[in-house]
């Protein structure tokens, strides 16, 4: 399936979890993919990933919370590729705990990575994406990775909830703005339920440390059982939805929120 032949994509948080699954999927569909993440370009992990993924992939060191780094990133994409069709704002962190004891710094950090970064990435990639999108049938496509926690609340996840809720409405605001101005950029949000990712595993490990009653494995089985479809998602299943939104098949979809949660929020 080569729906994305000739397209260029940038995926933040592209080294692991939903990010790397998305990178793999976009490459399969024929796109050239820039992996953006925090590690240094000569890091062993980065080198291993690039070697495995092959020539259509490249790496860009990017702290998504740093405006100057986004400016430099956009300039390098313009210089090296001359276009940007797809931006997947995927980098994200969690932040759990009761509000009354949560350090303000935790809140600010989660908001910076999950929410500020969408503003910065969108702000600095929009000019190049608009130039590209006006020349492409289905337009350029920004895909913001929110969460079902951007739609419903969760106990002791207040900064994560707030940041993912911000992602949901930032998506709608920019979708309207870009459509009205005829900029040729579609913007949509994806709302995964629970996905078997390192972020989930780390969250469970921490939760297990804080609450001696449960192990991380028990928490995962509980989540499987609580999901109507009976299991958590694989990262590739979220990547499939992202690839759909990136493709011309989604040419009339903008401002939409695509929930991929195994029925979690329907129950």
């Amino acid at each position: 399936m080569k729906r994305l032949e000739g397209r260029v994509a940038l995926v933040t948080g592209g080294l692991r979890g939903i990010g790397i699954a998305t990178v793999e999927r976009l490459l399969e569909e024929g796109a050239e993919v820039i992996i953006a993440d925090l590690k240094a370009p000569d890091d062993a992990d980065v080198q291993a990933v690039l070697k495995q993924l092959g020539q259509a992939s490249s790496y860009l060191q990017l702290n998504v919370t740093d405006e100057a780094q986004w400016e430099a990133a956009a300039a390098s994409v313009r210089r090296d590729f001359g276009r940007l069709d797809i931006l997947v704002n995927n980098a994200g962190i969690d932040g759990i705990g009761p509000v009354e004891t949560m350090p303000f710094e935790t809140w600010r950090r989660v908001m910076a990575v999950n929410s500020d970064a969408l503003f910065l990435g969108t702000k600095h990639c929009t000019v190049l994406m608009s130039e590209t999108g006006k020349k492409t049938r289905g337009g350029a496509s920004i895909i913001n990775i929110s969460s079902i926690m951007g739609i419903v609340g969760w106990i002791e996840a207040s900064p994560y909830n707030a940041s993912k809720g911000a992602a949901r409405l930032f998506t709608k605001a920019t979708a309207l703005e870009f459509a009205r101005k005829g900029m040729g950029i579609r913007v949509n949000s994806v709302h995964p339920g629970f996905v078997r990712t390192p972020l989930l595993q780390e969250g469970f490990d921490r939760a297990a440390e804080m609450n001696t009653a449960s192990t991380a494995q028990e928490l995962l089985s509980t989540l499987d059982q609580m999901t109507p479809l009976g299991r958590v998602a694989e990262p590739s299943e979220i990547a499939a939805t992202i690839a759909f939104l990136a493709s011309d098949d989604a040419s009339y979809m903008t401002g939409s929120e695509l929930v991929v949660d195994g029925g979690w929020t329907a129950q």
């Binding site: 399936m1 709608k172 605001a173 979708a175 309207l176 459509a179 009205r180 005829g182 339920g193 109507p228 479809l229 009976g230 998602a233 694989e234 299943e237 979220i238 499939a240 939805t241 759909f244 098949d249 989604a250 040419s251 009339y252 979809m253 903008t254 401002g255 939409s256 929120e257 695509l258 929930v259 991929v260 949660d261 195994g262 029925g263 929020t265 329907a266 129950q267």
Partner: protein, 260 residues
């Protein structure tokens, strides 16, 4: 076109025109065997010749006709993997002060009871698939499920109601472990024959067309093929983790408030 749907059998209600016909074409092009229903035999014959699909004259609101249809499909195909509950109408709709109760009942019968019957019978068939229960059911709702129209009371009501049918059915499938996914698509204004006729009946068709186009900030209506692309995605195994969801496809019409 890729062959994501090779080996799958699909049923599409209201398949002779508009979004339904586009879905017949799209699912067939992705490798599915397609059966569709409706009442316009002439349009159906042309679509069958073009796509290799089979046509089954049938009205979704007629409960007694459903077992007959499903028996026919079972004999022809032996399985069912995809159902697109698409048949819908708005003829005779009006505002709350003026709507005629017979027209109200007709719209409820087709748009709501018809969808319920489609989901019910599709699910029964999917549970009997040779290798075990499984399938994907897609219901055609409307962005008006989220934004009721003053002059289309019954349409707005039924398009909201079918979202509840979708969620209830998705949860039922989950609770009973049937491996059947149920989702809704909520299109904005789509350039179908139904809309074109409505536009042409107005005093000033040009202005009416412009008004419809301006509902989306993209300043155009959706093409039927664009809705069919989303239906094909939800029908495929690509959407294996998606159930009980409502996917809006409206060019950001309902992402903001009216007047944006």
């Amino acid at each position: 076109m890729s062959k994501r749907l090779e080996g799958k059998v699909a049923l599409i209600t209201g398949g002779t025109s508009g979004i339904g016909a586009a879905a017949v074409r799209r699912l067939a092009s992705e490798g599915a065997k397609v059966a569709f229903t409706g009442s316009n035999a002439e349009a159906a014959a042309a679509l069958c010749a073009e796509t290799g699909a089979s046509f089954h004259p049938h009205r979704v609101q007629n409960a007694d006709a459903w077992p007959v249809l499903m028996e026919e499909l079972h004999k022809l195909y032996g399985r069912l993997d995809i159902a697109f509950a698409n048949a819908g109408m708005e003829a005779g709709d009006s505002n709350i002060e003026e709507i005629d109760v017979n027209n109200w009942n007709n719209i409820i019968a087709v748009n709501q009871t018809g969808v319920m019957l489609t989901v019910q019978h599709a699910m029964r068939a999917m549970k009997k698939n040779p290798e075990g229960s499984g399938g994907s059911i897609i219901v055609n709702s409307s962005m008006n499920a989220n934004r009721a129209m003053g002059n289309f009371l019954a349409y707005s009501v039924t398009k909201t109601a079918v979202c509840a049918i979708v969620k209830s059915s998705a949860i039922h499938c989950a609770l009973t472990g049937t491996k059947i996914r149920v989702n809704a698509v909520l299109p904005g204004v789509v350039e179908t024959a139904m809309i074109t006729n409505l536009i042409n009946q107005q005093e000033d068709p040009v202005a009416t067309r412009k008004a419809y186009e301006s509902m989306s900030p993209m300043r155009r209506m959706a093409k039927v093929e664009e809705i069919a692309g989303l239906v094909a995605f939800l029908a495929s195994d690509e959407a294996a983790f998606i159930s009980g969801a409502e996917y809006v496809i409206d060019g950001a019409t309902t992402a903001g408030t009216m007047g944006v």
